[in-house]
Amino acid sequence: MSEGSLAAPSRWERMADRLDRTAAMHGVGEVGRLLIGQGFRAAMVPRLEVIPDDHHPNYLHPGRTAAILLDDVGLNEPVALAAACLVDTQCPELEPSNAEVLDRAGQAVLDFRECVPRPGSERLLEDLLGSESQVGLVALAERLDHLRHAHLWGDFEAARAAHVEGSRVYLAMAERTHPLLARRYTHCCRTFLKKYTT
């Protein structure tokens, strides 16, 4: 929103404010918050172009992923949080290009994003377990946000496959690494798996 405008801030602008406030609450300094904001804004650019409905489940995905990491995981590392905003394992076409990430958020964020394991691989659990711990947490948070909205995708088979993989791989990873994320995965899988397997 431009300065002095009377228009109410859009949902993504409010999410940007929320992330900034939450990050400050978790001890992230001004420079770090700036980087997180840059990551989030870069993630919103392709979304604003192709998602006209601001209630679309993917519209605020980058911000929600960062919010899970801040609120549930307690992760306050700006590079990881900025990179988390720039990963979209369900709609990779919505991810800003490497050049855009480099331009808006820098090499460290780009390098971090490159390390995040993607779903669909036979070796996914091994890759997740072998990841550096912050990378693993970002992968878990990002996928959790997709899984809890899978029933809104409108593609039953894709949602079913995602939940099967979620309970087989991501839940297993969460159980080994973060108790709260494990609880959230357990709850999510228990709720939705019965919908897709009965």
Binding site: R14, M15, R64, L152, H187, F192
Partner: protein, 184 residues
């Protein structure tokens, strides 16, 4: 057709199927509160932004109308035939439970008390929740003196839980955090 009948000017009202009771009667309080709830649900329908919640609310409006008709029917006293009332939508209870589970899995885990608020739609869903609780209390009060179908209380109890999670869902899908209660 004139909307006013003047028959209630003396402070009493006719029940469905016959019989008149004072407007302060627990039965009138019960179905009147359900009617009030339905009005707030109507307001919520045109206020919430989430399409799924909106559709769910519309289904509930039909349920509440049926529930109001059931409650507005005089208890059988053996002197007049019982009128035909709509069936209580008990099947909806299982649907509501599934919706509650799904919404709970979707929103952030609840670790603090929350205050009614967030988006306009969420705040209104909290109003629906509290009016629903009042309707439930009114039905329980009625049941102390007259027979009431057991499913009515179960339906209202589950419905207020659903309003609570839908309020959170409306905030969540709109990117608004819950408003947390703080001691200070």
């Amino acid at each position: 057709m004139k909307i006013y009948t003047k028959t209630g000017d003396g402070g009493d009202t006719g029940l469905f199927g016959g019989g008149r009771v004072p407007k302060s009667h627990p039965r009138v309080d019960a179905y009147g509160t359900v009617d009030e709830l339905n009005s707030f649900v109507g307001l919520a329908v045109v206020t919430v932004l989430d399409e799924g919640v909106q559709q769910g609310l519309q289904a509930i409006q039909h349920d509440l109308f049926a529930l109001g008709a059931i409650l507005a029917t005089a208890a059988p006293d053996g002197t007049r035939p019982q009128p035909e009332t709509p069936d209580l939508p008990l099947g909806r209870i299982a649907e509501m439970e599934e919706s509650i589970d799904q919404a709970t899995a979707e929103v952030e885990e609840l670790r603090d008390f929350i205050l009614p608020g967030g988006t306009r739609g969420a705040a209104l869903l909290h109003v629906c929740r509290t009016v629903c609780r009042r309707a439930e209390r009114a039905v329980v009060a009625l049941a102390a003196s007259e027979p009431v179908e057991g499913g009515v209380v179960r339906y209202l109890n589950r419905l207020s839980d659903l309003f609570f999670v839908w309020a959170r869902l409306e905030n969540h899908r709109g990117g608004e955090p819950d408003v947390l209660w703080t001691k200070d």
